[in-house]
């Protein structure tokens, strides 16, 4: 053999049989991950931070720029299997630290205590940025990929103000209030890829018109009957990057409203991306998130099955579903968080750091709401009253009796329609307030 032995990249490993030497490929060592990464400008020693506009590190002091070391991987980002080993480890430990961390700023010696799961720290005294990288219990369980920020922090204010004035239900004075202090944070997400294979069967109802001879009236009458027939089918549904939030610290309702992240923008994790932002490790373990993801997938698969039926009248529906080719990823996704005050009350706003989608709580002007409710119910009520009056008057003036009855009927119909509209308005207002 002319090649060197052992080949490059192989290291000697334990052998269970004397006389046999075994070499294995050296485990892929991610470039030594320092526990704490500091961001200092090599030119002027000032603090650098990730610049959303430039997509890399930028020194605000001298303009020094450092592009990110890794390229976009998008949907090609490596997925991991649900091995028994990973699941058991992931259920015990959290991604990167679960206790509070004590930290001393290398720059100004200020001490700080970080809440559990915090992955970054910006010193409140000197403004220096740090990314913390404790050892994860398993390599796959540290954030391996992230979606970088695409929306700038100062673009958030117009988005939020526009949104505040976009609903008629909010108080007029809200338009004047400002939302400031948007804080960029990387949130933990689990993404899941799966193929579901389902077989279903059900009785599907079909409307058929039958003619019948009525001996009493001596005539043919037609009537419709529902005929139930068994149907069955197969569904194969591919789920690509289904996102499930990895944190329970923020409102699920709001998060799902702006979860429209595009995973084509995934990049391999680099501490640079986190410089100057907050970042949080997961606190919802993989298994629990996977359960949530599966519930969403099976519900979607069940709907796809029911959609295959030839009509929407379905009974005795049953199905069997197999999950296959399951894989998962632990990623970080960008979000801006802000709290604004209105009448002394705090309200939360969130903006998707990639797409700019916004969700949050808004105060509701209940006077406006009740006015709208009244307006939608009023025509029906009024018409019904007039109709009643006409009926009562019919005792004296017979022709009004018929008019009254017609008006009453019309009024009742309008009243019902108005009620439905009012119900929707109240619901929407309530959702807006306490989301």
């Amino acid at each position: 053999m002319t090649q060197p032995f052992p080949p490059p990249g192989f290291i000697r490993v334990e052998s269970a049989i004397p006389g046999i030497v075994v070499y294995a490929p050296a485990p892929e060592e991610d470039e030594a991950q320092p526990a704490i990464v500091e961001f200092k400008c090599p030119q002027c020693q000032a603090t650098t931070a990730y610049s959303v506009v430039d997509g890399g590190l930028r020194c605000a002091h001298c303009g020094y720029y450092e592009p990110p070391a890794r390229a976009i991987v998008g949907k090609g980002a490596q997925g991991f299997e649900f091995t028994v080993e990973t699941l058991s480890i992931a259920s015990q430990a959290h991604g990167w630290g679960e206790t509070r961390q004590e930290l001393q700023c290398q720059n100004c010696n200020a001490r700080a205590t970080l809440p559990p799961g915090r992955l970054t720290h910006t010193c409140p005294f000197c403004g220096s940025n740090r990314v913390l990288q404790q050892a994860a219990p398993q390599d796959a369980l540290r954030p391996r990929f992230l979606i970088p920020f695409k929306i700038e922090a100062n673009a958030c204010r117009p988005i939020a103000e526009n949104w505040l004035s976009s609903s008629w239900m909010t108080p007029k004075s809200l338009k004047q209030s400002t939302v400031a202090g948007f804080m960029g944070i990387y949130l933990p997400y689990w993404t899941f890829d799966t193929v579901t294979l389902a077989e279903w069967k059900a009785e599907v109802g079909h409307q058929e018109t039958r003619r019948r001879y009525n001996s009493a009236t001596k005539s043919w009458e037609s009537h419709t009957v529902t005929v139930w027939r068994w149907e069955s089918g197969r569904v194969r549904k591919f789920f690509d990057d289904l996102l499930v939030s990895g944190t329970a610290k923020l409102s699920r309702v709001l998060l799902t409203q702006l979860q429209n992240y595009d995973t084509h923008a995934l990049v391999a994790y680099e501490p640079q991306y986190l410089a100057g932002f907050l970042a949080q490790a997961y606190d919802v373990p993989l298994e629990k998130a996977w359960e949530e993801g599966r519930e969403a997938m099976r519900a979607a698969t069940r709907k796809a099955c029911r959609d295959q039926a030839s009509t929407s009248q379905i009974r005795n529906f049953s199905m069997a579903l197999d999950f296959s080719e399951e894989s998962w990823r632990y990623v970080l996704a960008p979000l801006y968080l802000a709290v604004y005050r209105y009448n002394g009350q705090p309200y939360q706003v969130m903006i998707n750091g990639q797409t700019g989608a916004i969700a949050g709580q808004r105060p509701v002007d209940w006077n406006k709401v009740w006015l709208a409710v009244g307006a939608s119910v009023a025509p029906g009520a009024l018409l019904s009253l007039i109709g009643l009056l006409g009926i009562v008057l019919g005792a004296l003036l017979p022709p009004t009796l018929a008019v009254g009855m017609v008006l009453l009927a019309l009024g009742v119909v309008l009243l019902i329609a108005g009620g439905v509209i009012a119900f929707n308005i109240i619901n929407k207002a309530r959702r807006m307030g306490d989301a």
Partner: protein
């Protein structure tokens, strides 16, 4: 070199099939236990020039006794319709000979560099769901074993003992017929081993047999490398071995050989593994005997027919005889048709694939 056998032996050769044996002197003119077509002839000239005359180091003893072998022969001969006249337990038993077949065992030191892909089993969790309108979702967790393949290379310095290498050109065919032998029970050769048996001389040199031993060695080394890597599977094992200190051992394997003559008077061997008792032989019905029986039946039918004819003619005079003639005619026809049965039985039996018991 024959004196090394420590018993009175000569070399004998079969003029028909050319197999060469070492035989006890008093058995030098036996029927050849391979082709059974000729009697052995002692080799007189230049005996010492023949290759591989040295006695074997090891002998796998007969563990199947003559009594058991006889019983297997009886089972072999049993249940064959219209068996050839020569295929009967008595003749088969009377012709049984004890025979040893040679086999090489090689020991070798091996030094090599090797490479392979080794596989490790791991379990992944998946889910199956059932849904029905009545009872909602029912989730079932399932585990599936997958293999993670990884590259390994290494060096090997091992000694391998008793790697099997054929000493006969027909070794593979013999093994197919007789089944495998357990080699760990082999004992050192003793003079008494050849007292009642013949020993076939090797016709393959160790050098030639080495070509067959090398793959076996590679397979053994591959399996050891798998164990060394603590892996569950191995594939694409490749190595560049250097062999030293090869040592060859000759081993004898026991069997009983007998034969019967078929319809064409051709000898048909019946072999019994002397260790496991497995029987190899062709069990066939004799078409000749079946035809013979058929002919007799047809003859009876013809006689019957003639008698009926006579009865029929007589019936012209005495009408009741006409009935007897009619019945006789029908009977003759039936018996005549029955003549096909023996031929059919024999044909059907011979259609079955060659059996080993």
């Amino acid at each position: 070199m024959l004196e090394l056998w420590e018993t009175e032996v000569v070399v004998a050769v079969c003029p028909h099939c050319d197999w060469r044996y070492v035989v006890p002197t008093e058995k030098a003119t036996l029927r050849c236990p391979h082709c059974f077509a000729a009697d052995l002839e002692p080799v007189v000239d230049d005996v010492e020039q023949l290759p591989y005359l040295r006695p074997p180091e090891l002998v796998t003893p007969f563990t199947v006794t003559k009594a058991v072998a006889d019983k297997r022969i009886e089972e072999f001969a049993d249940g064959i319709p219209f068996a050839p006249r020569d295929l009967n337990p008595e003749t088969l038993r009377s012709r049984v000979q004890r025979l040893y077949l040679p086999m090489w065992l090689v020991d070798s030191d091996v030094m090599a560099t090797w490479g392979a892909e080794v596989g490790f089993d791991y379990n992944v969790v998946s889910h199956r769901e059932r849904y029905s309108d009545g009872s909602g979702w029912d989730t079932q967790q399932v585990q599936e074993t997958r293999i993670r393949w990884e590259a390994r290379v290494g060096q090997l310095e091992r000694h391998y003992d008793n790697v099997v290498a054929p000493a006969l050109e027909q070794h593979a065919a013999m093994e197919q017929a007789l089944g495998a032998y357990a080699l760990d029970v082999a004992q050192p050769y003793a003079a008494g081993d050849l007292a009642r048996a013949l020993a076939r001389l090797p016709d393959r040199a160790p050098e030639a047999a080495w070509a067959d031993a090398a793959p076996t060695l590679q397979a053994a080394a591959g399996e050891e490398c798998r164990q060394a890597a603590s892996a569950d599977h191995i594939r694409q094992f490749r190595w560049s071995p250097t062999y030293t200190g090869q040592h060859w051992t000759l081993l004898l394997l026991p069997l009983y050989a007998t034969y019967y003559l078929d319809d064409d008077a051709e000898p048909r061997p019946v072999l019994i593994n002397g260790q496991s008792g497995r029987v190899f032989g062709v069990r066939r019905a004799s078409m000749q005997r079946a035809q013979h029986t058929a002919l007799i039946i047809v003859a009876i039918a013809a006689v019957l027919f003639l008698l009926s004819l006579v009865a029929g003619v007589a019936g012209l005079a005495a009408p009741p005889l006409l009935v007897v003639g009619g019945i006789g005619g029908v009977l003759a026809l039936c018996v005549g048709l029955g003549g096909i049965i023996p031929i059919f039985r024999a044909w059907q039996f011979n259609r079955k694939p060659v059996e080993t018991l």
